[in-house]
């Protein structure tokens, strides 16, 4: 099997599963329990928080555990909107965002908030000055993803942060689900107030994520109850998953130090080789794109036909983002970039992890070439 759908989810590292099993079996206490057994679970939780905060270069009281990217994005956006509704009800997002940002914004729209969507340029990148034009005294939040999940374009988070220095009241949320461990981002330097990451995108487990909340910033919680996570997110902590996430992040960061250049060279190889195949248009921009995502269209085929054709050879890629790929709608990112609907509907995404090899990439390219020839013959006859 050649797994090239790492932006949908990654394979949990074995060491991560070991931690999860051991914590689940031996330290199943509730961190809120008074007894020593609960105390152990609480120590694990604290140690995980310390480790994650160090890896993210932030303070440990800025790391809040959630159930994943969707919850973190919801908490960041709704939590800010509710907490600061008296100050303003205007929110800015971009046309590149993941559904958990887009749909959250739509929901707030129904509640009377005003939502502005900033469209990207043809390279899939939004510009700080386009955002700045839309800022009004009513604006409370700007949400921009770091790395786009469909084409891999990197957004100018540092520039937007710099621009926002002039608009200090606006809260800045960054969805870094795709960027973490792949594209560096210094949260303090970029003036980021809120940042989302999700464990299963870096070889952790589903059901765990983090929302970074800058020290001193207050949000309305979405989940009320036992006041866990400093009242920001009630619910008994998923200690085993959190410990596993801390380990996954450490291993991922280690792999980044060791294998980032290899990952980049595989991606460059894929972009170049795919671009040479007749009828293929590569959508991932050459510059300002992440080292692990390549998106391209194959003229004349519906993307899902192609995905299934490769699947027969044991190669797994995806159409658009996993969350929306079951619907046959065209990629929202590609549409926002101004790519014609027909091309957008034939776009596929290849997404890598540090575990993928050059050999796998070669097998993949060969398979694409053969599949294109075979399908064209089928279509002709």
């Amino acid at each position: 099997m050649i797994y090239l759908d790492n932006s949908a989810t990654t394979k949990p590292y074995k060491e991560v599963l070991d931690s999860f099993m051991k914590v689940s079996a031996e330290y199943f206490g509730n961190p809120s329990s008074l007894h020593e057994f609960g105390g152990k679970a609480e120590r694990l939780l604290m140690q995980a928080r310390d480790q994650i905060s160090q890896l993210l270069n932030v303070k440990s009281n800025e790391v809040f555990f959630t159930s994943g990217g969707t919850e973190s994005n919801n908490l960041a956006i709704k939590g800010t909107a509710l907490m600061h509704r008296k100050r303003g009800t205007h929110i800015i997002i971009t046309g590149l965002e993941h559904a958990s940002v887009r749909e959250t914004a739509d929901q707030l729209k129904e509640l009377g908030y005003r939502i502005t969507v900033i469209e990207p340029d043809s390279m899939g990148i939004v510009h700080a000055e386009d955002i700045e034009k839309e800022i009004t005294p009513e604006t409370v939040l700007i949400s921009v993803m770091h790395v786009n999940n469909e084409i891999g374009s990197i957004q100018p988070i540092n520039e937007i942060g710099e621009m926002l220095k002039k608009h200090a009241r606006v809260i800045f949320h960054v969805d870094n689900v795709q960027g973490i461990g792949k594209v560096p981002l210094d949260l303090y330097e970029a003036q980021v107030d809120l940042c989302t990451i999700s464990a299963h995108k870096f070889h952790g487990l589903k059901g765990n994520g983090v929302l970074f909340i800058r020290d001193g910033l207050r949000l309305s919680p979405l989940l009320s109850g036992g006041n866990q996570e400093w009242k920001m997110r009630s619910g008994t902590e998923n200690v085993a998953g959190i410990v596993a996430m801390a380990k996954a992040l450490r291993l991922t960061m280690n792999n980044k130090d060791k294998h980032l250049s290899r990952l980049k060279s595989i991606k460059t190889y894929l972009m170049e080789e795919a671009g040479r195949i007749e009828g293929v248009t590569v959508h991932t921009p050459e510059n300002n794109s992440a080292p692990h995502i390549v998106n391209f269209s194959i003229k004349g085929f519906k993307a899902e036909v192609f995905v299934h054709a490769l699947e027969e050879r044991g190669i797994f890629i995806s159409t658009t983002s996993a969350c929306s790929s079951k619907k046959s709608a065209a990629s929202s990112t590609l549409m926002a970039m101004g790519i014609p609907e027909k091309d957008a509907k034939s776009a596929v995404r290849v997404s890598l992890s540090y575990d993928n090899t050059k050999e796998e990439a070669e097998v993949f390219i060969q398979a694409v070439k053969e599949t294109v020839i075979r399908l064209r013959e089928v279509m002709k006859s």
Partner: protein
């Protein structure tokens, strides 16, 4: 590209300490060594009034961050060492300056000539180097009062040093240069701050904590270990004495009238701490008391409690407001640990209405009916001694899980 190869450290207060100076410098050198010892290749050179950390390729930013917390450093500057050759110095000064310069920034030169045999005096140096920069950097402006970049040139016996920024140090005196004292560490917000401030004045501290299982939990003990760890981050390592206190507390409870139990408890804690101090060659006891904060911290109370010893009791927080103490606890990172909600030995047995103005004679009389001595001896005997290392170096019980 010119790179900083060393960090110049200024001592501040210790440079005024006459004959003890060598001892102070030596202690400072040792604390710097302790904090930086994981960077291989680093060398520390000291002269009469300066110390240099020679980086030998270590990460300057990381080293700078660590130096910020070391007591006894007034300020420090990343610096470049050059030969005392004017042309060579000029070239280096320009290269270093350009590293920091951006269009529109202003500058000044601060020259210092410790080597009086150097041909240029301070004014000449200012003039010569200022001129050199103005000639080579277009549109550069001088601003003597509020420069964006202050290029410092120090000409010393052995070489000249150039630097562009001065970073404020933690001040105070080097760790251990003022002797050893015992810190009564409860787990609250105040006592770690008292420990920190004492360390700042050069005291070596050993922490003493009273543990009363099952009335206080393992988590309360862990909390104190975590607090000590924060202090160890500054000092390199800190000894923590955990005193078994259950039996004494129970005896107090049975024998002393409720409104005086708190006073007696404090008196006995002080006596035990004093014995541990004696065994460990300390010369003082530090507490986190702040006048009037709670019942045990009225002047009357202190008078009645202090009665049991003539050892100096240092109370660094005595005149401070709670909010100021909280501010310090946040900067030294102990606040969030301190507010973890576990009972400690001071809160478990608190009577509903402790005497805010206990009388010394009364408490003496109540205690006279009980023989605490055997239990005190037993507590001191059973005291557990832990050596707490800085965070990253501690044995990690969940090691493989992370």
């Amino acid at each position: 590209m010119i790179n900083y190869d060393r960090i110049l450290i200024r001592y501040g207060e210790i440079s005024t300490k006459g004959r003890n100076r060598n001892m102070f410098v030596d202690k400072l050198r040792r604390s710097i060594y302790n904090v930086l010892n994981e960077f291989s290749g680093i060398k520390i050179e000291s002269t009469r009034d300066r110390m240099y950390v020679v980086l030998n390729g270590a990460d300057g930013r990381e080293v700078t961050d660590r130096l910020r917390g070391i007591f006894g450093i007034q300020s420090f500057s990343p610096a470049v060492k050059v030969n005392k050759d004017i042309e060579e110095m000029k070239a280096a000064a320009l290269a270093l300056f350009l590293k920091h310069f951006e269009e529109g920034k202003t500058f000044k030169i601060t020259a210092k000539r410790a080597d009086k045999s150097f041909p240029l005096n301070t004014d000449d140096l200012n003039h010569e180097f200022g001129g050199h920069l103005l000639k080579n950097v277009p549109n550069l402006q001088v601003n003597v009062k509020k420069p964006d970049i202050n290029l410092q040139i120090e000409v010393r016996e052995e070489a000249a040093y150039l630097s562009c920024e001065t970073i404020e140090g933690a001040g105070g005196l080097p760790a251990g240069s003022s002797g050893k004292a015992m810190l009564m560490l409860s787990g609250g917000i105040d006592s770690p701050v008292a420990g920190y401030l004492s360390m700042k004045r050069g005291l070596e501290i050993e922490a003493v904590h009273f543990h009363s299982p099952p009335f206080t939990s393992e988590r309360a003990k862990q909390k104190v270990i975590d607090l000590t760890e924060k202090l160890a981050n500054i000092a390199g390592s800190v000894v923590l004495h955990i005193v078994p206190f259950t039996e004494i507390q129970q005896l107090i409870h049975q024998q002393v009238p409720a409104n005086y139990t708190m006073t007696t408890t404090r008196r006995l804690m002080l006596r035990i701490t004093d014995e541990i101090r004696d065994k460990n060659d300390g010369l003082a006891i530090i507490t986190g008391e702040s006048l009037g904060q709670v019942a045990s911290q009225t002047l009357e109370s202190m008078f009645a409690i202090n009665d049991v010893t003539t050892t100096p009791i240092l109370r660094p927080l005595i005149t401070m407001d709670k909010s100021d103490i909280i501010d310090i606890s946040q900067t030294i990172d102990t606040h969030d640990i301190s507010i973890r909600p576990f009972e400690d030995c001071c809160t478990v047995f608190v009577p509903s209405s402790p005497k805010t103005k206990p009388k010394r004679d009364k408490v003496r009389r109540f205690e006279s009916f009980v023989d605490f001595e055997p239990l005190i001896a037993k507590s001191v005997e059973g005291t557990e001694r832990l050596v707490i290392k800085p965070q990253s170096r501690n044995e990690n019980s969940f090691g493989e899980l992370f």
